[in-house]
């Protein structure tokens, strides 16, 4: 069924009207949007996730950078309207290449255009999908005892069982995971384990952890894509499965967890849509380094700065995180998930995960 985009068009036209109005009033045009930094995220009690606070940033044509941003915004908005009219969509990367033809308004790198697309979401309170923009990267992989119904490209509905109907690389999460595209048709599992690295995902698959421990395994592929986070959130809400995040033991991995559980700083405007507030951190924790005597690397200066920055990040103010981060700073070490292989290939599935899971009350043994 074709979607009605009138609302989206109205919202993005407001940007042009604001700029035009400023110029007509002989005022320097400016656009206000919430400041997208760590300092401006607040916990939303109602939604149970972290959202942008009240601080705003002004993009003003008074400065060269501001004027460029404004011009680019106008071009992007125009491009989006064209796509809506032509019923097309594009990837963020395609849009970046299309911007090559925008003369003065062209971007110098894709992160610039990606970031402006996010700004546009923030300004209009629309979603990227409303703008007919989709990410380049696919979502990640899933293996576990759940059944998904996907509407395929030839508009047929197809049921996929994420163990029986897929190979060892699992079910691949599409970029659109909304109900119009996928539905959960059933699950017989106790929890979801979201795993940072592909190596560890494959280890758990090879060791049959999904069957032996009634787990749904999701590969995050580093910092998870929006669709992966949205998928996990829906699994959690619709299938009532608790979510556990299993990552390396370093500051960057904690940020992966935070983006799953609390909402990412960059996308805090849609946290309630992407974050899984109940998600728990499984490990590897700095305490694990000590308890399991794991092989380690020294923290680099960047690591140390990132950890310190997390100490002042409002999302990491729980006692658990404060203690673990301080511990890590004091031992000066970091470790990887796959360091558990020190004790053999089965150690992670036979010993580490069961111990951690029972401590978290997830195993009913």
């Amino acid at each position: 069924m074709p979607r009605d985009y009138t609302n989206v068009i109205n919202k993005i036209d407001l940007i042009a009207s604001k700029v035009y109005g400023d110029l007509e009033k002989a005022e320097i045009p400016n656009i206000k949007l919430p400041t997208r930094t760590k300092a401006n995220i607040k916990f939303d009690q109602k939604l149970n996730v972290w959202k942008y606070g009240n601080n705003t940033t002004e993009r003003s044509a008074k400065s060269l950078d501001g004027a460029y941003m404004m011009l680019r915004t106008m071009y992007m908005v125009d491009f989006i309207k064209d796509m809506i009219r032509a019923n097309k969509s594009s990837t963020l990367r395609e849009m970046y290449y299309i911007s090559e033809g925008w003369d003065l308004a062209k971007f110098h790198s894709q992160p610039e255009s990606d970031s402006l697309a996010e700004d546009l979401e923030v300004i209009t309170t629309c979603m990227r999908e409303d703008f007919k923009l989709r990410p380049e990267e696919d979502g990640a992989r899933v293996i576990g005892n759940i059944t998904i119904e996907e509407v395929t490209r030839n508009k047929t509905k197809k049921k996929i069982h994420c163990q029986d109907d897929v190979g060892d690389s699992g079910y691949s999460i599409p970029y659109n995971v909304e109900p119009e595209k996928i539905k959960f048709k059933g699950a017989d599992a106790d929890f979801v384990v979201a795993i940072e690295t592909g190596g560890m995902f494959d280890r758990l698959v090879e060791n049959g952890f999904d069957t032996s421990n009634r787990a749904v395994l999701v590969h995050l592929k580093g910092q998870p894509a929006r669709s992966t986070r949205r998928f996990i959130k829906r699994l959690n809400e619709e299938m009532k499965l608790p979510v556990l995040v299993f990552t390396d033991c370093d500051p960057w991995s904690y940020r992966i967890f935070a983006s799953v559980a609390y909402g990412a700083i960059k996308t805090a405007h849609i946290s309630e849509y992407l974050a899984t507030p109940g998600a728990q951190y499984l490990g590897v924790t700095p305490s694990d380094i000590e308890n399991y005597k794991l092989p380690t690397d020294k923290l680099t200066n960047e690591d140390i700065n990132a950890l310190k920055s997390e100490l002042s990040d409002p999302r990491f103010q729980e006692r658990f995180w404060k203690n673990e981060i301080k511990l890590q700073l004091s031992i000066g070490k970091k470790s990887e998930q796959q360091a558990l292989a020190k004790y053999g290939l089965d150690y992670v599935t036979d010993t580490y995960l069961p111990e951690k899971l029972s401590a978290m009350g997830m195993l009913k043994k």
Partner: protein, 643 residues
């Protein structure tokens, strides 16, 4: 004409004595090793050639050739287009040590003692056993004389081995051929550097250098103007040594102390003479020839206690900032430096001798970033190649903190590291060298201070150049903003809403909120036809075939109220000002001033001026200042701090 000058010079060439002196002291005289001997020989020859040409008002055309033989023997040929030397004088000048015209006079000149060229002849004779050959021609319609000579080291006399006459194409000039033992391989670089350096501080000279392998380098003439002729001055009491004072008194024709003081010294008028005599408790009618050692001691002491006017400084002949910049530019073309900045101090005095300091900085381009900066040191237009560490200029540079000018310098002291060449030139009637080899200037506080002041001034100019660059980039940005991006934003928003494009004038004024000054310099080959301005017609000779520097300045009022201001454009002293629009309020040697009344918002004023008498590139940066307006309101010019 040349003959008259040669005879004139001959009269002054007095004997000084001692000859074998050389053999024992050759290390002090710059012949200590075979590498230095090569450079010293070229240097003495070139110094002589330049002095000879300048004294007779001829633009020097100098030819230097080194022919390389086996076993370390090199033939050096140095040829000039000077006045030539009368044949009777040739044996004295080339064949006797300490014989020269300059020893007894006080004036700015290259050689200050007659050790010069005869030492080269002697060194050649001692190392190769060969005779020197001198070709000289003093008049166009006469043949050249060819003299082969050797030196009798016991008698300090020349032995003329052979005399001849020959045809020579030159109207006049001198050519010396001398064979010496020298290390060409190691000295090669030094000779080239030396000649290049000579060319930098002697922009009026053309130097051709032919190396043993036949390759020829031409260091081109960049100025057609001979240096201002130096004037001989009498010694100043502050600088005279006791021994010299006694000798002067013995030789004086004056019969009274007072007239001796007044006639033999500079800056000694009646009042000062009386004050000196009184303070020294000496009778001013005393016969100088009968004065005792105690009298002289008292007189010498008193000189320092009485305030005596400084000697006149017009006897100096500095190179001038424009010429230094031009030669540096010419000689550093291959480096393509980012900028060349110069500074000159007014003349000053140390112990009775006038002196003047000029400096220059070449920065950036292909110069190495990880090595110490290169120092070029000059005294009276002669490059100083050795003993850099002992030189007052090195000390002065080392004591300045260069770190904020983009150079590295641990703890802010010492010779900095970075892509730069620093030039120091000192002109004086008496250069206080640290030793006979004349390679380093002694550490005299007055001199060090002047060098420091000159480099500080240079450094300030460097800073202002850097600031200007940054500011220019910023103004460029703003200009892009209002001329390109803002109109695009307006157009795009209007298109999207299907509305007419709004007017931007007021928004632009709000965004800029300054008085904006932009400038541009262009060069134009001057035409032969007279230009409208009367100033030009006066200087039409100079202009012929020369360059006109055209500077245009745009002043735009982007504030929302009318503005008025005074604008100053600094110009080089040696430039001739041509057409100026609009009519300036004032033109001096150093600047042009406009009073700009009432520029309405969004209005602009076009200003332009032309400069003649400069080469292309001599004036390559506008130096603009403003007055009678809040400097914070203006982009593109600094506050005028007075002259």
């Amino acid at each position: 004409m040349a003959e008259v000058i040669a005879h004139e010079l001959a009269k002054k060439q007095k004997e000084i004595s001692v000859a074998e002196f050389f053999e024992r002291n050759k290390h002090i005289l710059g012949f200590g090793n075979p590498t230095r001997a090569l450079v010293t020989s070229v240097k003495e020859g070139v110094d002589n050639a330049l002095d000879a040409c300048e004294e007779s008002g001829i633009l020097p055309d100098i030819y230097v050739e080194i022919r390389n033989h086996e076993d370390g023997e090199n033939k050096i040929i140095i040829e000039d287009n000077g006045p030539g030397i009368v044949k009777q004088q040739i044996p004295h000048i080339f064949g006797r040590l300490l014989y020269g015209s300059r020893f007894h006079s006080i004036r700015q000149s290259r050689g200050q003692q007659g050790i010069g060229i005869s030492a080269v002849v002697l060194y050649g004779q001692l190392t190769t056993g060969k005779h020197a050959k001198v070709v000289s021609k003093i008049q166009e319609d006469r043949p050249a004389t060819v003299t082969e000579l050797a030196i009798d080291t016991n008698k300090n006399r020349a032995e003329v081995i052979n005399k001849d006459i020959a045809h020579w194409d030159k109207p006049s000039g001198t050519r010396l051929e001398v064979s010496i033992v020298a290390d060409y391989k190691r000295g090669k670089r030094f000779v080239y550097d030396y000649l290049q350096s000579v060319s930098i501080v002697n922009p009026h000279a053309q130097i051709t250098y032919k190396e043993p392998d036949g390759s020829e380098h031409v260091f081109e003439r960049t100025s057609e103007a001979l240096p201002q002729k130096t004037i001989e001055i009498k010694p100043h009491p502050y600088g005279v040594e006791l021994g010299t004072l006694i000798k002067m008194a013995k030789q004086s024709k004056s019969r009274k102390l007072s007239s001796f003081l007044k006639t033999e010294f500079s800056s000694m008028g009646d009042r000062t003479t009386n004050a000196v005599c009184e303070k020294a408790q000496l009778d001013k009618n005393l016969n100088p020839k009968e004065m005792t050692r105690e009298h002289f001691l008292a007189l010498h002491k008193t000189f320092k206690k009485v305030k005596i006017m400084s000697p006149s400084t017009d006897c100096l002949s500095p190179i001038g900032e424009t010429l230094i910049k031009r030669s540096l530019k010419h000689e550093t073309q291959e480096i393509s430096p980012e900028f060349i900045i110069t500074a000159a101090r007014p003349a000053s005095v140390y112990s009775g001798s006038p002196f003047q300091v000029e400096v220059g900085i070449v920065y950036g381009g292909n110069l190495p970033r990880d090595r110490q900066i290169k120092l070029l040191r000059f005294a009276n237009r002669v490059p100083l190649l050795y003993q850099q560490g002992d030189c007052v200029s090195t000390q002065a540079i080392s004591s300045i903190d260069w770190r904020r000018y983009g150079l590295e310098q641990p703890s802010g002291k010492g010779i900095p590291t970075g892509p730069a060449i620093f030039l120091t030139h000192m002109s004086s009637t008496l250069i206080p060298f640290t030793s006979e080899s004349k390679e380093a200037i002694a550490d005299i506080p007055e001199i060090e201070n002047e060098i420091k002041l000159a480099f500080r001034e240079c450094a300030r100019k460097v800073q202002s150049h850097i600031n200007k660059k940054v500011r220019r980039a910023k103004t460029r940005e703003k200009f892009d903003l209002i001329t390109k991006i803002l109109p695009e934003i307006a157009k795009k928003s209007a298109d999207m809403l299907n509305k007419p494009v709004p007017s931007l004038e007021q928004v632009i004024t709000k965004i800029m909120d300054v008085v904006w000054i932009e400038d541009l310099i262009e060069y134009e080959k001057a035409s032969q036809e007279p230009v409208q301005s009367t100033l030009f017609e006066d200087s039409s000779d100079q202009r012929e075939g020369g360059w006109i520097t055209k500077s245009t300045i745009l002043v735009v009022n982007y504030k929302n109220k009318p503005q008025r201001l005074n604008l100053y454009a600094v110009i080089p002293e040696d430039a001739v000002v041509g057409t100026v629009t609009p009519k300036p309020t004032k033109i001096t040697n150093n600047y042009i001033k406009w009073n700009l009344d009432q520029i309405s918002p969004a209005n602009k004023v076009d200003i332009s001026f032309e400069l003649a008498g400069l080469e292309k590139g001599d004036f390559d940066e506008n130096d603009l200042y403003i007055e009678n307006i809040n400097p914070a309101f203006v982009i593109g010019a600094d506050k005028w701090e007075g002259e």
